[in-house]
């Protein structure tokens, strides 16, 4: 019976379609993977019209800071050149440090620093805005505390030369404390979970989508056997429903799972994505469970149309609720709680 099921699957039209779709998904993953060797850095343009000791120090610090340069690339040019680069799409954001900026900062005469953000991509624009807001907080904290010390020393009658000297020294100290913010943290990377990029997340999500569809094919195959009375004939020669369901599930796992695995090997070879060896077992197991589930579902339905509409809706719902479209951490809390009960959530977790 198992061999018959294998032959049936290969000879069906939908198998050809499944192969074509899998091929398309594989090609997209390969093209996308080969395009993105590294996560792109933020291109930040800086025009230092101040050119003071502080501003030069500030720009140099950022250019040399390892943590900062790991995600931001600084381009230092004139304002006109920055504007040209910005409109050519080579800069994501640029800052113009105004003339006498540091001097005015020390005198608590806040001169606004011009920041131009490319709003073409709202997601990136939100990240830049958040970063600029936190940098604004750094400047405010330094400025405020320098002024406080200055005022108190001045009020208590310390000599002007000492007040100025102390003001300069404390400004320097606080600026470098702010710039050295990376020291505030002790980073402990988790050995239990690997960082997952959004690309990988969606690749896993697409993989789960295919796993669920493998299951629907298995269920549809069983339903067709039921509607065409093939199953009745099989039962009359002593084959039980359980045996037929298991045979169908194994056959689909072997063929669809095999094709998915071939695709993964291609993706592994020709793109930067890599799937751990253990994921082979996870994927095959998932396809088998999915096939078994949809075969049981196929037993319940009485028409192909009803089955297809229901399973499509179910897959769509599971994909949305399980974090297949919006990652679980960004889902509303109520939906995120339900996500734990979807196969999509566990599938992605299993591959991590």
């Amino acid at each position: 019976m198992f061999r018959k099921d294998l032959k049936l699957i290969v000879s069906e039209k939908r198998f050809l379609f499944f192969s074509l779709i899998l091929l398309a998904v594989t090609m997209i993953a390969v093209i996308f993977g080969s395009q993105n060797r590294e996560t792109p850095k933020v291109s930040l343009g800086v025009c230092d019209n101040d050119n003071s000791q502080y501003s030069v120090l500030l720009v140099d610090y950022f250019k040399q800071n390892e943590v900062f340069t790991s995600y931001i690339e600084i381009v230092e040019e004139s304002e006109d050149e920055l504007e040209r680069l910005f409109f050519e799409g080579k800069l994501d954001v640029y800052l113009v440090i105004p003339k006498d900026f540091a001097e005015n900062l020390i005198k608590i005469n806040n001169m606004p620093m011009k920041a131009v953000i490319n709003s073409a991509d709202p997601t990136k624009a939100v990240v830049y805005k958040t970063l600029l807001e936190s940098y604004g907080q750094y400047i405010s904290a330094v400025e405020l505390n320098c002024q406080a010390l200055y005022d108190i020393m001045d009020r208590e009658g310390y000599p002007d030369s000492l007040v100025d000297e102390e003001n300069f020294a404390v400004s320097y100290d606080l600026i470098f404390t702010a710039l050295g913010k990376d020291e505030f943290y002790e980073i402990k990377p988790s050995e239990r979970i690997k960082g997952i990029s959004l690309v990988n997340y969606y690749i896993y999500s697409a993989l789960m989508f295919l796993v669920l569809y493998c299951g629907t094919f298995a269920g549809l195959g069983l339903l067709r056997d039921k509607l065409s009375k093939v199953r009745l004939r099989m039962e009359s020669i002593g084959n039980s429903k359980v045996k037929m369901t298991l045979s169908k599930s194994f056959a689909y796992t072997l063929i669809c799972g095999g094709m998915v695995l071939i695709s993964l090997i291609i993706v592994n070879l020709f793109s930067r994505f890599s799937f751990p060896a253990v994921s082979v077992i996870s994927i095959l197991l998932s396809i088998f469970i999915s096939s078994l589930f949809f075969c049981v579902l196929g037993n319940v339905f009485k028409s192909e149309g009803g089955y297809i509409v229901f399973t499509n809706m179910l897959i769509l719902l599971l994909t949305i609720v399980g974090g297949g479209i919006i990652p679980v951490m960004y889902l509303p809390e109520a939906i995120a709680r339900v996500a734990r009960f979807t196969p999509n959530y566990w599938f992605i977790k299993m591959l991590l």
Partner: protein, 359 residues
């Protein structure tokens, strides 16, 4: 005209189309009213926070972090937060270490906070930058106070106590001239147009809401054309064309009927945005939704004609809906991924236009 009315009647008696329609309306109402309301907070970065120090300094920091609009903070026991972290519900876990207050007072700023994050995680670096903004005020007070205390005492002048010093800094912080902010402008580098709307956290989430709405429009168009696929399979269509039916005229009328069937939902989908959009923007959104609905209907009508049987139509169409959906959602993060290949898909284009309107 009779073909138009007939198709409309058939649609209103088509159980599959009606169930799909009902479900879509329920989802749309919950998506727009529910998710849109929480878009600001849920677009923030979810992190876990534990305060292991009992000092007023660490409590101040905790309060500042909770106030940050850029972060969505979960608090609780270490086990609970660790399980959230391992289950992917939070991006990283920040622990204010014991002795934080004492160290800050002494001017020691090294390793005050432990960050648990995934290997090679870049987002926690950005979160670290945001939290540093909350820490710096306290750190700067203590650093400057230590410097002040190190100065020689002047005759007849009593030095300020720590609380008196802090009181003065607090008083000074009320002065708006210390609130430094950038003069930010948002310009679309592609078109040169200055953005009329401020960039907010909620924009990320609203792009996803737009993607969901586009998927639902496509889904209803897909279900509405289902019965036509059934007519091809049963041979009804062949019989209709043998009696001289004009293919293009019939197609036009049928597409019009499907569009009429979908119109109430499209109007509802646009009107529900009146809470967060102006009247003009809602009208623009309505036009966008109508255009997208016509595109979806036309697409699935073509797929019906190509498939000519129910199974093939449903199989191909569901891949089209979910496939375009996933590609559309990837396009939201495309800029961060360094690619531009998915921006050309229909749902990605819908999202772009939706945000352009003011979503």
């Amino acid at each position: 005209m009779s073909e138009y009315l007939l198709r409309l009647k058939l649609l209103l008696r088509d159980k599959t189309a009606l169930i799909c329609y009902g479900l879509a309306v329920a989802v749309i109402v919950s998506v727009i009213l529910g998710l849109n309301m929480h878009s600001e907070e849920r677009s923030s970065l979810p992190i876990g926070l534990i305060n292991e120090d009992n000092s007023p300094e660490s409590e101040n920091l905790r309060k500042e972090i909770l106030k940050s609009k850029a972060l969505y903070v979960y608090e609780g026991s270490r086990d609970y937060l660790q399980s959230l972290f391992l289950d992917g519900y939070i991006n990283s876990l920040f622990i204010i270490k014991e002795g934080y207050g004492d160290n800050v007072k002494l001017g020691n700023t090294a390793e005050l906070i432990s960050i648990y994050s995934a290997e090679d995680d870049k987002i926690s670096t950005v979160v670290g930058d945001i939290i540093a903004g909350c820490m710096l005020f306290e750190i700067c007070i203590d650093k400057t106070y230590n410097r002040y205390m190190a100065l020689n005492k002047l005759d007849g002048i009593e030095k300020l106590t720590y609380s008196e010093y802090c009181e003065y800094v607090e008083e000074l912080s009320g002065d708006d001239s210390f609130a430094f902010s950038f003069d930010v402008s948002y310009i679309d580098a592609g078109t040169g147009a200055t953005s009329a709307h401020d960039v907010t956290n909620g924009m990320v989430y609203r792009q996803m809401i737009a993607g969901m709405l586009a998927m639902l429009i496509m889904l209803i168009a897909f279900c509405s054309c289902n019965a036509i696929a059934g007519e091809y399979e049963s041979g009804v269509r062949r019989r209709l064309f043998t009696i001289g039916r004009n293919v293009f005229l019939a197609g036009f009328r049928e597409i019009s009927a499907v569009a009429t069937f979908m119109l109430p939902m499209i109007i509802l989908m646009s009107v529900l945005f009146l809470k967060c959009m102006t009247g003009t923007e809602v009208i623009k959104l309505l036009c966008l939704n109508i255009c997208f609905m016509l595109f979806g209907t036309l697409l699935f009508y073509i797929l019906v004609r190509l498939s000519k049987n129910v199974f093939m139509y449903q199989f191909v169409s569901s891949f089209v809906v979910i496939g375009f959906g996933i590609l559309g959602f990837i396009s939201v993060f495309e800029g961060l991924l360094g690619s531009e290949i998915f921006g050309a898909t229909p749902i990605a284009y819908y999202i772009e236009l939706f945000i352009g309107i003011g979503g």
